[in-house]
């Protein structure tokens, strides 16, 4: 309603839709992985809005990377915990 610029959420949805042809051509298993990445970017929409970057998609990519790295940290901790149990 009466916005000069689309909100970051609207922009996100546009971007996601813009990749629908790309997604369609992927294998089913890859499609699911791609969905995961978009879900990851969604976790940081508030921060992306606040950043008010001229190219929000860069922020979305960084958000994906961020969640990916959180996952790595979490898995590494688990591996270390498991490793110490069997040492």
């Amino acid at each position: 309603m009466g916005r000069t610029l689309p909100s970051v959420t609207q922009f996100f949805q546009q971007e996601e839709a813009a990749f629908s042809r790309f997604r369609r051509a992927l294998r089913r298993s890859d499609q699911l992985a791609l969905d995961d990445l978009f879900t990851a970017a969604r976790q940081h929409l508030a921060a992306a809005q606040y950043a008010s970057h001229a190219l929000p998609f860069e922020v979305f990519l960084l958000s994906m990377l961020l969640e990916e790295h959180k996952e790595v940290i979490k898995l590494r901790e688990q591996v270390e915990a498991l490793a110490s149990r069997y040492r």
């Binding site: 309603m1 916005r3 000069t4 610029l5 909100s7 995961d36 879900t39 990851a40 969604r42 976790q43 940081h44 929409l45 508030a46 809005q49 606040y50 008010s52 001229a54 969640e67 959180k70 996952e71 979490k74």
Partner: protein, 740 residues
């Protein structure tokens, strides 16, 4: 002969020549007085045009007094204006219409302010103000207020209230009886016996002489019905106490506002009495008569207007009074355009409040802390007003005199804070509590809308840059609060414009959070308060994608056992009451658990309850009223390409000759077979056997799962708030465990 009356100002409205002023005296008398009152409007423009206007006005039949003055336009500074004093306030509209049509090129000020509002500003009075009035014969010589709208506990006026209550919604068909009640008197009249009804009502109006006629559906049905009945018999209705004037009727209309279609029913207002319709009063359910009176006192609009106006009009009239009293011109039309901005500026400023994505799941010992009336607080503290130039750095108060917006808001904000703190100290059973609550919520609505009006292009004292400055400071304050919390090792679970949900191991009493509150208040300069500490709270994911959090769908139980829900079915107005009750019933049972660990003890009880409710639904024992769904019609019926259930129900109403406008709620039941719905507001009652039980079952299950699934998950796994892996290896959704 000179007389002095002390009492309450009841109503003010224009008559043929001057103003009629009603006073309820301390002696119990109702005084109808008159007062001379001149209303001024101003015109600005080139000198030759103003001279022409002057000549034109001198030839008008309406008496005026003309002068040249210098006055203040907040956007342009001092301007030379032609002041037109109209000696008969009731004819100002007529004069102005002609004037604006003949001289469309001039700029007009103070042109469309109602006489009641001008009167309130001129004598600093308001509806139900206690006043001291000097009277000569029938004429008011002077009126002095003895209290202010900001008093926490004004002396209540001794109002005589007569209530008229039809036995059913007239939308269904003609009510069989109308209950008349006042004090201990209570009896029924039959609308079918029109003559008898009129005679009895007339006698009652004479005998009891009420100040207020409180009705249900009075605007839409009862009053028009009575007026029509009187007209048929050629008698006066005596609904008005002031018999020199006729009843004021306004037509219904539909308009579009903030992405929503809004429907306003027709209105019937009385003179010398108030007519209040419970169903047409804005927000009556929120704050009742106490709130309506408070709204009138604060906004200074006559009570019958105040009951029906939107908070936006209310805040505007408060600003008008501030402007009138401080000699600031109120532009008739606004001419301020948005100042040019660079693309980057626009990118930075065109944002709302900050809304976070919460951490999905159940969390224990969570504190919810809120900034108190954040946006109005920012406007007052940082002097944000359309006419005040912004400080270079947006995060510092603007210099200079307080602007019109902070001047209007400051007393309102203070009163709300005082009421809130008074509420905290009142005993749970104190009889003043409901009235305090009603007043505080009336103020809340005004404060909430004042922010929107700051950015509204048609608001006389609105400007988008001021609006943006408020949200910018709001975001800054929230981020500073987040940083304060994280510096003190709190975990942020959620943030939403003016509130934060935080948690820290070992913190579960209000005292544990005091240091944090002090720190936030210190860093932001804004008052902040602890809304409460939750025993547990659940943030729900989106319906569409269970891994995507949504900001405003959560429920939880505070330490005192009270429940807070947002965005779930029970809060939604289009949920059938039976389903909402079931959901709240489950939450009630869950709230009996003293902490999250004890949830497993109450879970069986909740499941029992669900089974019982389900059995009722299956056996068809749920009263039809409780299965009603009320949805808004979003457009004209002809415009639907695939009609929604509401539209299909509206068509059925149309078929029996009822009109439904966009914005109106349509009540209906889901039924078996075509067309799948059955409108409620038609004379014929649907057959209970036709209810679409499977459809209601689906809705029921969904509502039950919303609250139960996260609890079961917590009880079963024990890892409740342990953040789910964002990329789960198994594709099952941890939150949607099916109900075994």
């Amino acid at each position: 002969m000179k007389k002095i009356i002390t009492g309450w100002l009841f109503d003010v409205y224009p008559n043929e020549t001057n103003l009629t002023v009603w006073i309820i005296g301390e002696d119990g008398q109702r005084y109808r007085l008159v007062q001379d009152f001149a209303a001024s409007l101003y015109a600005a423009g080139s000198s030759p045009r103003l001279r022409e206007l002057w000549k034109w006005l001198e030839n008008q039949p309406i008496p005026t007094r003309l002068s040249r003055e210098e006055r203040k336009d907040v956007f342009k500074g001092m301007v030379t204006v032609l002041a037109v004093k109209v000696l008969q306030p009731s004819r100002l509209d007529e004069l102005f219409r002609n004037m604006a049509a003949t001289f469309p090129d001039l700029t007009y000020y103070d042109a469309d302010i109602s006489p009641s509002l001008r009167y309130a500003a001129a004598f600093n009075v308001f509806p139900l103000a206690r006043c001291r009035v000097e009277v000569w014969g029938e004429k008011v010589e002077s009126i002095t207020p003895l209290d202010t709208p900001w008093d926490l506990e004004p002396e209540p006026a001794p109002l005589r209230i007569l209530s008229l209550e039809p036995d059913c919604d007239p939308a269904h068909g003609l009510p069989k009886s109308v209950t008349v009640a006042h004090g201990r008197v209570r009896y029924s009249l039959l609308p079918e016996e029109r003559t008898q009804l009129l005679v009895c009502l007339r006698a009652e109006l004479h005998r009891y002489d009420p100040d207020v006629i409180l009705t249900s559906w009075g605007d839409t049905w009862l009053m028009p019905f009575l007026i029509e009945a009187c007209r048929e018999r050629g008698v006066t209705s005596s609904l008005n106490r002031d018999e020199s004037l006729s009843v004021v009727e306004r037509k219904e209309h539909t308009y579009f506002s903030y992405g929503q279609i809004v429907y306003r029913g027709r209105q019937v207002q009385l003179r010398g009495r108030w007519h209040l319709d419970r169903h047409n009063a804005m927000l009556w359910n929120d704050y009742g008569l106490d709130g309506v009176l408070e709204m009138a006192r604060l906004t200074r609009q006559p009570v019958q207007e105040a009951a029906r106006l939107s908070p936006g009009t209310g805040i505007s009239s408060m600003q008008f009074v501030t402007a009138l009293q401080s000699g600031i011109l109120i532009p008739w039309h606004k001419h301020q355009a948005e100042t040019p901005k660079t693309a980057l500026d626009l990118l930075r400023s065109d944002m709302g409040g900050m809304v976070y994505q919460p951490t999905i799941g159940l969390h224990r010992d969570v504190a919810e802390i809120d900034f108190v009336s954040m946006y109005p607080g920012i406007m007052v503290r940082f002097n944000i007003s359309p006419e005040v130039p912004r400080a270079k750095n947006d995060l510092e108060p603007a210099e200079g005199e307080p602007g019109i917006v902070p001047m209007t808001l400051a007393p309102l904000l203070n009163k709300r804070m005082a009421l809130k703190s008074a509420l905290l100290s009142l005993h749970r059973w104190d009889c003043r509590r409901p009235a305090y609550h009603a007043r505080a919520s009336a103020e809340k609505w005004l404060l909430v809308t004042c922010f929107g009006y700051l950015g509204y292009k048609n608001a006389r004292f609105g400007r988008i840059e001021a609006h943006e400055a408020v949200t910018a400071y709001g975001r800054e304050a929230l981020l500073r609060a987040k940083e304060a919390a994280e510096d003190l090792d709190y975990e942020i679970l959620h943030m939403n414009v003016d509130g934060l949900w935080v948690r820290k191991k070992g913190c579960n009493t209000p005292a544990d959070f005091e240091a944090l509150l002090a720190d936030i208040s210190d860093r932001t300069g804004l008052p902040i308060s602890l809304d409460g500490v939750y025993r547990w709270v659940v943030f729900l994911p989106s319906r569409v994608n269970e891994r995507v959090p949504v900001p405003n769908r959560y429920f939880g139980v505070f330490q005192d056992g009270s429940i807070k829900v947002r965005g779930i079915e029970a809060r939604r107005r289009d949920t059938a009451p039976f389903i909402a009750e079931t959901q709240m019933g489950i939450l009630n049972i869950l709230s009996k658990a003293p902490d999250a660990d004890a949830l497993k003890d109450v879970l069986p009880k909740a499941q029992d309850f669900i089974r019982k409710q389900l059995a009722l639904l299956r056996a068809g024992q749920v009263p039809l009223e409780k299965l009603l769904v009320a949805q808004k019609l979003s457009r004209e019926l002809g415009e639907y390409s695939s009609p929604s259930p509401a539209a299909r129900a509206a068509r059925q109403m149309q078929a029996v000759g009822k009109t439904v406008s966009p914005g109106q709620r349509v009540r209906f039941l889901f039924t078996l077979g075509k067309p799948g719905v059955c409108a409620w507001d038609v004379p014929e009652r649907p057959d209970a056997r036709r209810i679409d039980v499977p459809h209601y079952r689906t809705l029921f299950d969904r509502a039950v799962q919303t609250v139960l699934a996260p609890i079961q998950q917590s009880v079963a796994g024990g890892v409740d708030s342990e953040c789910l892996y964002l990329f789960p290896i198994k594709k099952d959704n941890p939150l949607l465990v099916t109900n075994g």
